[in-house]
């Protein structure tokens, strides 16, 4: 058995590989290796050889506990997928897809031909854009007090009440503000999702693995949108409008992209129906 295996980055149509000769591509995941297309009649996978010393199941598991090892390679994987996505329709694969034999890749391309072609059609001429909803909690809370009639009323009553009553009313105000701030934020998040989904071909709300704090506040929601290149201006106009509209409530939008369509490689819900 050879001690080499094939790392697979992404999949394109065979015809598209003419625009992307191996020597024009960014560096492979491991230094010294070259990128190579493994093609069937109509689909081609971009691959490079890796050593089983590093990429066997056992070594890979060992490397998984070393974030710097992974980070470096994940970056190269992304650089390659992005390079290809800028030029042709591409199905980006997740990090760490490894085949022992070239024939295994050819087999996969023919077994998954229909699914892969459907994804390529869906992402053709489109890019993925990330939109994160960021919230400055204290700004949101103060904007709530100024717009909510119930809170305004209670605040006035607290000002006129005796110290004891005032304390109790203040407690109530604090609890209400938290509730109202949460509701207001959720309404904004829904509005962002619906407005931008209408300006794109597909939308996904992504899970957040932990609370992420940015310089503008805490990340409260994370979306990916699949946007036609030709309709990007409408999408970005809508996004900028939303950002301006909610700025005073302490809610900001953070944009990222264009990405290869990593989040749109699954089948759409309606494509599952028979």
């Amino acid at each position: 058995m050879s001690d080499l295996a094939y790392y697979v980055y992404c999949i394109v149509e065979s015809a598209a590989t003419a625009e992307l000769p191996g020597d024009s591509l960014p560096p492979a995941i491991e230094h010294g290796a070259t990128l190579e297309w493994v093609a069937t009649q109509d689909l081609a996978a971009l691959t490079s050889q890796v050593s089983l010393v590093s990429y066997s199941e056992e070594s890979l598991n060992h490397h998984l506990s070393d974030p710097s090892w992974i980070a470096e390679r994940a970056m190269r994987h992304e650089t390659i997928a992005e390079f290809v996505a800028k030029r042709v329709a591409v199905v980006p694969l997740r990090f760490g897809t490894i085949f022992l034999e070239r024939a295994g890749i050819e087999q996969m391309l023919s077994d998954k031909r229909e699914e892969l072609r459907a994804i390529l059609e869906r992402v053709r001429g489109r890019e993925e854009w990330a939109v994160n909803v960021i919230c400055d909690q204290s700004m949101l809370m103060s904007s709530i007090t100024s717009v909510s009639p119930v809170l305004r009323d209670l605040t006035e009553r607290a000002a006129q009440a005796s110290p004891g009553q005032s304390y109790l009313i203040q407690k109530k105000i604090d609890a209400l503000r938290v509730d109202e701030a949460r509701d207001a934020l959720n309404r904004i998040i829904d509005e962002v999702e619906q407005t931008l989904a209408a300006k794109s071909d597909d939308a996904k709300r992504l899970r957040m693995l932990k609370v992420e704090t940015t310089e503008y506040g805490e990340m409260k929601a994370k979306f990916a949108f699949l946007v036609k290149k030709s309709e990007f201006d409408q999408f970005s106009d809508a996004a900028e409008r939303l950002a301006r509209e909610h700025q005073s409530a302490g809610v900001g939008l953070e944009f990222g992209g264009p990405w290869p369509a990593y989040n749109f490689t699954g089948l759409k819900k309606d494509e599952f129906s028979v």
């Binding site: 295996a5 697979v8 999949i11 960014p26 560096p27 990429y55 066997s56 199941e57 890979l60 598991n61 998984l64 506990s65 070393d66 974030p67 710097s68 992974i70 980070a71 470096e72 994940a74 970056m75 190269r76 994987h77 992304e78 650089t79 997928a81 199905v91 980006p92 694969l93 997740r94 990090f95 760490g96 897809t97 490894i98 085949f99 022992l100 034999e101 295994g104 996969m108 998954k112 994804i119 990330a130 693995l209 932990k210 992420e212 990222g256 990405w259 290869p260 990593y262 989040n263 490689t265 699954g266």
Partner: protein, 74 residues
């Protein structure tokens, strides 16, 4: 003092990505958590990916903090 991340930061391809103004964490999130999952002959399980990502997250946060400290000193 050296962290395991020093090795990553000096890599030129990481610098290129930073120049391209990509968030490191967003990149890792895409490459590790998204993308079509094809059962190759060797694959990383989804549970493992979560663990790697959480580890990276913690590591990157500490690198960001370290960079800020360096900037302030500089």
């Amino acid at each position: 003092m050296s962290s395991p991340f020093d090795q990553v930061l000096i890599q030129s391809d990481v610098e290129q990505l930073e120049q391209a103004d990509l968030s490191l964490l967003e990149t890792l999130d895409h490459v590790l958590n998204r993308g079509l999952v094809i059962a190759g002959e060797i694959t990383i399980s989804v549970a493992d990916i979560d663990l790697i990502f959480l580890g990276l997250n913690v590591l990157l946060s500490s690198v960001e903090t370290a960079n800020e400290v360096i900037k302030k000193r500089g």
